[in-house]
Structure formats: C-alpha cells, structure tokens
C-alpha cells in the first residue's frame, strides 16, 4: 500500500509496523495510526485521517448560510452547542445582527453545560484508556444529568441544534434554572470522590507524569490550543483572549499547568469543570428577562461581500469559522478550523520514542473527537 511508503518494515533495524486503528479501542473513533516500533518503543508515527470525512465544507457552499447550523453540531458531537455558538456568532457578526441580552446568557449557560459534559466524557474515556473501568460510569452518571437538562430545553441529547441566528430556538424556564442549580451543587459534591478515586491515585500519577511533554513553542509551531496549551502554562483561552458573547462579564480563572505533560492537561481539564460551574452560577444569578430572538433577522440572510472570522473556545481548543462571502446568501467558502486537527498533528513529534502504553495515554490526553478532525 502506497500510503505506507514512509513507514516500512525494516528487519535490519529490528523495526516493524503496528497498525493501530481504525477500530482500535483507544483511538476513539475512526483514527488510524501507523506506528513503527522498535521493541515496544514507537519510533515513527503516521496518523491516517479521513475515515469519517463528510464534506461539511463542500455542503456549506451549496446551501443558504442559515441551513448549515445543524451540520455544525455534527462536526464535534461533544461540543455541539459551542459549535452552534461559533457559527451563530459568525453570521451575526457578518450580518451585523444584535443579540438580546437574555439570549447571550442562555447561550453561555448552555455552552458551559456542554463543555462540562464534554470534559466529563473525556474524563471517563481517558481513564478507560488507562485501564480503569469504573470512572467512566461515574462520569456518565453526572453527564446524564446535563443531558437531561439540555434535552429539556433543546429537545435533543447530543447533536443539539439550539442556537439560531439572532437568538435561540426555545426559552429556558424556572425548571431549567432549578435543575441546573441542583446539578451545579451535585457536581461540586462529587469532586472529592473523583479526587480520591482518580486524581490522587499513584498509578495514574505515574502513568501521566512526564508523558507527552509540550512547550509553548511547540504549541505555537503546531497551533495547539485549549487545555493542552494551558497545561504548558500559557493562559490562553478564547473566552478571555478575545472575549466573545458576554464572557467578559464573568469572574472565572483560567487553570494552567506548568510542565505541559499529560498530567498538566489532565488537571487543567479537571479544574475547568469547576470554572465552568462558576460561570454557570454567575450567569444564572444575572439572568435577565427579555426576548429570545432578534425580531429583525431576514428570512433570506445575505452576507455582505468580504471575509469574516469567528473564534470560540471549544472544549478541545480554539474553534474558528472563516467565511468568505460574495454577497449572496450562500457562502462562497466556509472553512472550519477545528482544534483537534491541529492538536493531533503534533502526535508524530510528541510521541516519538515513547512506549506503546504512553502513546495511548498521550493520545488520550489530546481528547480527540475524530469527526471534528475529518469534518
């Protein structure tokens, strides 16, 4: 197979090729990685993408801008609302639509719930990669509460299409507020349990410390963003760096690590749960009354000619939509910059010379969502 030109069995150097995926249990979807091994050490890695490619960018060029909203949720099934948010913001920015304040609050609350949901799933699945079977069930137990809350307001459980250009599709009610507050309390009370069972565990510490170390410079070269970057000590979060929506009004910290290894990004993600809870609490406290939709959104939304960019902080890093418009209601070109794509591209460098077990833990720390990479 010509794809394997770079990675070939080399009996002289005692090297051989291991094909990981696309059905390997720890590649989380249809990612394939070719590993050139020497003993159990991975000397070369070659990720092979494209098994889940669904031509989202091509689809976008063929239908009105507003109709692309459901597709955004399918790119990253774990951060669907945040992907909605980025796209809605792109069109609002491009068409100059003002969004009511209540909508911004609702968007922030639901987006943060979505982020917690995504982090909880990663938490469980990562521990599953590391061989602990139980935490995923505990994380799903908590996650299920979020799904119930979001189902009640958005109508779906995973691929939400909730945000609209200029608003949201359904208003939140008192039931949402009380159940969200109850959830915030519940998740807080579960943190000590996670701390005991997982975070402090000596086996986990040994598995993650000093594995897959990154530096800020490496992150810049590869365009790595999100918790991995924050694990290296750079407090770069789109919610702070380019405050979109109403994030500038909230008081929250950006957790950072120091070493940039798997443990650092692990703890960054874990602490982000708490920060997201804080944002949700503040947003619930300040939730204003008002309409949930801008009245003046035209049915056929024409975007003035030019190029527009919208960046938001997805659970895995920076998500950017880049729209080139020729003045019609159909995008001339829509490019989606997904965080996992850039994050995964570091794997050949990061995992060089690692043990096979460490490759698994390093790739798990990237929190890969393959449909997001393949689009």
């Amino acid at each position: 197979m010509a794809m394997d030109v770079e990675i070939l069995e080399d009996p002289k150097h005692h090297r051989y090729v291991l094909n990981m995926g696309p059905q390997h249990p720890s590649t989380h979807g249809v990612l394939r990685v070719l590993l050139e091994l020497e003993g159990e050490y991975a000397m070369e890695l070659l990720p092979v993408l494209g098994y889940g490619h669904r031509c989202h960018e091509k689809i976008a060029e063929h239908k009105p801008v507003k109709s692309f909203m459901p597709n955004t949720a399918r790119m990253d099934y774990l951060g669907a609302l945040i992907y909605n948010h980025g796209y809605a913001q792109l069109l609002e920015r491009a068409a100059g639509i003002e969004v009511p304040e209540r909508v911004e609050y609702i968007r922030v609350i639901t987006s943060e719930l979505n982020r917690i949901q995504s982090h909880l799933l990663w938490y469980g699945a990562y521990l599953l990669d590391l061989g602990a079977f139980t935490p995923i069930m505990y994380a799903f137990d908590d996650r299920e509460h979020i799904l119930d809350i979001l189902e009640d307001v958005t109508g779906s459980r995973l691929t939400y299409c909730y945000f609209r250009v200029g608003g949201v599709s359904k208003d939140i009610d008192d039931k949402f507020v009380t159940s969200t507050r109850a959830f915030v309390k519940r998740l807080r009370s579960r943190f000590p349990m996670y701390e005991d069972l997982v975070n402090g565990n000596v086996i986990l510490q040994n598995r993650l410390n000093d594995v897959g170390e990154l530096t800020p410079h490496t992150c810049a070269r590869y365009g790595i963003t999100g918790p991995l970057l924050r694990g290296t000590g750079v407090a770069y979060d789109m919610r702070r760096a380019e405050p979109y929506s109403i994030y500038s009004q909230f008081d929250f910290e950006i957790p950072t690590g120091t070493k940039g290894d798997c443990m650092a990004s692990f703890m960054v993600r874990f602490h982000e749960l708490e920060q997201s809870l804080r944002i949700i609490e503040q947003a619930l406290d300040g939730l204003p009354e008002g309409p949930i939709m801008t009245p003046k959104v035209p049915k056929k939304l024409k975007i003035p000619a030019g190029d527009y960019n919208s960046s938001v902080e997805a659970p895995r890093g920076e998500l950017s939509y880049y729209l080139v418009s020729d003045g019609s209601d159909v995008p001339y070109r829509l490019k989606v910059r997904t965080p996992s794509y850039s994050n995964l591209s570091v794997v050949p460098e990061m995992c060089q010379g690692m043990l096979l077990s460490d490759v698994v833990s390093a790739m798990g720390a990237l929190d890969l969502v393959i449909p997001e990479i393949d689009r």
Binding site: H53, E61, A94, R221, G223, I224, A241, G306, V324
Partner: protein, 184 residues
C-alpha cells in the same frame, strides 16, 4: 509584541497591510503577500510568537488564493495573510517553519490541488489515495468569482438600491481601512 514595529516589518514584506475592525470581521489585520515572501513572513510570525490558526485556500480568479491565519497567545492580534498561487498552482511550503501547516497543506492539496513546493510528504490526508485529482472544493465555471467579488466593499455613501439587504449589515466606515488603501 510591539504592534507598530511589527506593522512596519509586515509592510516591508507585503504589498498591502490593512487594519480591519474586529467587531465586523473577527480579525484585526489583513496582509497581502507576494508568493516568494510567504516563507519570510511565516518565519517572522513564528519569531514574534504567533501561532498558526489555520491555512486554507479560496478558489477565485485570477488564481487560487491561499489564506494563512495567525493569532498571538498574549494579546489579541488576529492576522490574515494571503497570497496567490502561481500558474502551476504552486506555493512555497511553510511546514518546516510551522510544523502544524503540514497537515493543512496536505488538506489544501486534497481539496484545491495547490502544490506546496518542498513539502516533505504531500500525500492525500483527508481524501482517499485514488481521489488525488478530485479537487472537490474547486469551483466550476458558473460559480467561480473574481477576487474582487469576495473582497469587502468600502462603504458606499449612496443608499443600497436593493430593499432586502438590511442597512445595518453594511460594514461601517473604518478610518484604518481607508488609510491603508491609500497606502496601497
């Protein structure tokens, strides 16, 4: 990061540097480059601590335009750099400067057929091997637009004749943009 110094350096490398209102377009600067200056520009950006957000191509006439997006970890400074490919759809690679560009360039090769010269492994990434000449994102004749059709229009003083386009969607007058256009 000294933005004024940077701007001067950009101007040395580029044909035009244009400041843009972030609240309208979501980025701060627009830098038009010549093909042979792309690598110098990328090296400068890496030195200044920018990271590569994205690399993409837009199919317009007269040639495919390759757009590089950079941002900075410390301060908000989102830069779009753009350059046209040559007649053979070729473009110098920046994947040895920004290793993250490696996959973006392979993807652009898949979708638009832009050949990045000196790329270490320009092999189909997203598409299958046999679809190497598919170039799915190239526009056909009917849809292909001129590059000026997709550029931001300077605000017109006269009211828009078409009623369905809302007046508020038009970008507002930007002193910076006007200035830089004078320069170019």
């Amino acid at each position: 990061m000294d933005i004024n110094k940077l701007k001067k350096q950009w101007q040395d490398l580029s044909t035009a540097v244009e400041g843009i209102d972030y609240s309208v377009s979501g980025h701060d600067y627009n830098v038009s480059l010549e093909r042979d200056k792309v690598r110098d520009f990328a090296a400068l950006m890496l030195e200044e601590g920018f990271y590569l957000v994205d690399l993409m191509a837009v199919h317009v006439t007269p040639a495919i335009e390759v757009v590089y997006q950079f941002a900075h970890f410390e301060a908000r400074c989102r830069v779009l750099a753009r350059a046209f490919v040559d007649d053979n759809s070729e473009m110098p690679t920046i994947s040895d400067i920004y290793q993250g560009a490696n996959w973006h360039e392979r993807e652009t090769r898949d979708f638009h057929g832009v050949v990045f010269v000196d790329h270490p492994y320009l092999y189909p990434l997203i598409l299958a091997e046999e679809d190497v000449d598919l170039k799915p994102l190239l526009k056909d004749e009917a849809n292909l637009k001129d590059v000026d059709a997709v550029r931001r229009k300077p605000p017109e003083p006269a009211p828009e004749p078409k009623p369905e386009v809302k007046p508020e969607v038009k970008p507002e007058a930007k002193p910076e943009a006007a200035k830089s256009q004078e320069q170019s």
